[in-house]
């Protein structure tokens, strides 16, 4: 039931887009590495990483109408949100828990992304809760079109809702109900499952008795597809097709991007008790950034000089972001009392 796609929308991407995608993957990686370093230095309390997932995330981001379509991401989506317009400084502010932090005014742990301006819905920690909410966002899109409140072709308006989660989180009833709602109403909805084979320590077999999460889509009348999540262009292709289906009113898609988390679950985790070093090293060889780099080099799109330039720029941006965040003030104690209710 899950199918691989063979048409390649990404063949139409211009060199500048490919380079921008590469840049964002690289930038995300460097921001992420810095966060781990800051944690080791005892400067921050917590980091949860997107390392290894950058290809899946940037591929998906570029396939939708970035900053306009609704995105309801999860904690691992650093590269995704950077691709949507969150800045390294934004992220660093959340690592340090500084006043006026962009997502939550430093109320949430880092990596609980959210920006009204960019139509990124604020996430929580309980996994999978975003899925039925995203179905609701997609329902609202369809509702507004049917009720004549928006023009279905107006691309300044959200025309789909994309939500992301890990394979383990599909065990939740929340996921079932969200997928089902999307299927019943054939909503403009994309569920991107970033399957990295583990939910903290529990391997995929402990979560489900099927090989592909994508195979679960059929149960909902949702189109299901799985792709190599370390191939940014394959993910782009799959999500692009899904987005076009959504825009055309043809219904929801589940895209499973098979990837790997090359680091522990979070800065609180130690993955040595539950997976071998060999396994991790094997997967590091499949790194989506290295792979894309090689592709772009082979195609003559990326040059060693430009790569150096990107690295220098990334380091500068990360430094600047860290310094800005470190210099920023903490929230006042009583800021805790604000915004309990909207008025």
């Amino acid at each position: 039931m899950a199918t691989k796609i063979f048409a390649r929308p990404s063949a139409r991407l211009k060199a500048e887009h490919l380079l921008e995608m590469f840049w964002l993957m690289l930038l995300s990686r460097r921001v992420d590495e810095r966060a781990w370093a800051l944690h080791r230095q005892g400067k921050i309390a917590f980091h949860i990483s997107g390392m290894g997932h950058e290809g899946a995330q940037v591929g998906a981001a570029f396939a939708i109408n970035r900053g306009v379509d609704y995105v309801h991401p999860y904690y691992r989506d650093l590269a995704l949100v950077l691709a949507l317009g969150i800045t390294p400084t934004d992220f660093m502010m959340s690592l340090f828990g500084k006043k006026d932090e962009y997502s939550s005014k430093a109320r949430q742990m880092p990596s609980h992304f959210g920006s009204k301006k960019l139509n990124i819905v604020s996430g929580s920690s309980p996994v999978a809760t975003q899925v039925p909410q995203a179905a609701g966002l997609a329902f609202a899109i369809k509702y507004k079109q049917q009720a004549g409140l928006v023009n279905p072709d107006d691309s300044t308006q959200p025309r789909l809702a994309l939500t992301c989660l890990g394979e383990g989180s599909t065990s939740q009833g929340e996921w079932h109900e969200g997928m089902n709602w999307a299927g019943v109403h054939q909503l403009p909805f994309i569920c991107l499952v970033e399957n990295n084979l583990y939910a903290i320590s529990v391997p995929q077999e402990g979560q489900m008795a099927v090989s592909n999460v994508a195979d679960r889509a059929a149960a909902y009348g949702v189109k299901g597809i799985w792709v190599d999540g370390n191939d940014v262009l394959a993910v782009y292709d799959a999500v692009y097709e899904a987005a076009q289906r959504a825009y055309r009113g043809e219904g929801p898609t589940l895209v499973e991007a098979k990837t790997y988390r090359v680091v522990p679950h979070s800065s609180d985790d130690d993955d040595r008790s539950y997976r071998s070093r060999e396994e991790v090293e094997e997967w590091k060889k499949k790194d989506p950034i290295l792979r894309f780099e090689k592709y772009l080099m082979d195609e003559g799109i990326l040059t060693p000089e430009r790569l150096d330039e990107y690295e220098t720029r990334a380091r500068a941006e990360v430094d600047r972001a860290q310094h800005a965040a470190e210099a920023a003030p903490y929230p006042a104690e009583t800021d805790a009392l604000d915004e309990v209710y909207a008025d």
């Binding site: 005014k105 959210g114 929580s124 909410q133 609202a140 899109i141 089902n180 709602w181 915004e339």
Partner: protein, 328 residues
């Protein structure tokens, strides 16, 4: 003014809000052609069509969650939970999600969502069609919790709920759906969420209640006035969260005695908070213990009429508690 039943006032509020604002829609189980199992949405499907009156799958968490999503997208969902007893699967979405979204996003996102649910006992609904669930949600900052006891308030509060930028839980005393009648002006008016209502002025003691019990408490107050010359002030709390401390304290400052009545079970029922407010800020006013008359601490209302009778407070039991407290 027309005299309407509680449920017709609720229906009228929804009808007028649907008419007023195209962003308002209703979802829930059987709300469409069936018009809801209590008929609260009867006729609305025919009037507004399937786009706006949407039968949901049989899945409460997704009723609330898709409501949250739609609210984030600036629609104005009214989600019906068929019985309050079935709100539990949606607890995570209500407590962890709807209630915290505004705060957790630093004020960026808001969830203008109404969740309606019939609650309460006395209708032979037994353990799973009689529950009172308000206490759970009154512990959750970010939510508003509203329970009307008169048709006038039902309509006005529901309209306020629909227009509120926050998630509002609107619980309906189902035993009163057809039993409680009252005057309701046609057309638009609102009753603000927040302030309690003095349902009856009095000097000897204050009785706090809400929902069906507010109705019964007024009857009991009239009974003890007639039979015992007792002058009881009845406060219909109406909004349980935020807590109307001012109303609670003002009344007891006058009367010195407080009785709290709810059909929910006693321990950690809403009466606990009212009593705690009085035991602290109202301590100097009190000249008697703060009494709670509530359902017993058993899992829920049993089916057999004998046990149901035993469980439920009623005007006689309330009157007895009033007399007892007055004698202190």
């Amino acid at each position: 003014m027309t005299v309407l039943t509680l449920i017709d006032a609720i229906k009228q509020a929804m009808d007028e809000e649907l008419e007023r604002d195209p962003r308002v829609f209703i979802t829930g189980e059987d709300v469409g052609k069936r018009g809801g199992v209590f008929r609260a949405t009867q006729g609305l499907y025919d009037k507004y069509g399937g786009t706006r009156i949407v039968d949901s799958p049989l899945a409460e968490l997704s009723i609330v969650a898709t409501g949250i999503g739609a609210a984030l997208a600036d629609l104005r969902p009214i989600c019906e939970i068929q019985f309050a007893d079935f709100i539990h699967p949606a607890f995570n979405q209500i407590v962890n999600e709807a209630a915290k979204m505004h705060y957790r996003s630093g004020g960026q996102w808001r969830v203008p969502l109404v969740i309606r649910a019939p609650y309460g006992g006395g209708i032979s609904g037994a353990l799973y069609h009689s529950q009172s669930v308000e206490a759970f949600f009154t512990h959750v900052p970010g939510l508003k919790v509203v329970i009307p006891s008169t048709p006038y308030d039902a309509k006005g509060l529901l309209k306020s709920a629909v227009r509120d930028p926050n998630p509002v839980l609107y619980f309906e005393p189902k035993k009163g759906y057809r039993a409680i009648k009252g005057e309701v002006p046609p057309g638009d008016y609102t009753v603000p969420i927040g302030p309690a209502r003095v349902a009856r002025e009095g000097r000897d003691l204050t009785a706090f209640a809400y929902g069906m019990m507010a109705h019964y408490t007024v009857l009991a107050a009239e009974q003890v006035a007639r039979e015992d010359g007792l002058d009881v002030e009845v406060i219909d709390l109406r909004t349980l969260l935020p807590v109307d401390k001012t109303a609670i304290l003002t009344s007891v400052q006058k009367t010195g005695k407080a009785l709290i009545v709810h059909e929910d079970n006693l321990t950690m029922g809403y009466g606990a908070e009212v009593a705690a407010v009085l035991a602290d800020d109202g301590f100097a006013y009190l000249d008697a213990p703060v009494r709670r008359l509530a359902g017993p601490d058993v899992p829920a209302v049993p089916f057999a009429h004998t046990m149901q009778e035993f469980f439920m407070p009623n005007p006689d039991k309330i009157a007895a508690a009033m007399r007892d407290l007055a004698e202190y």
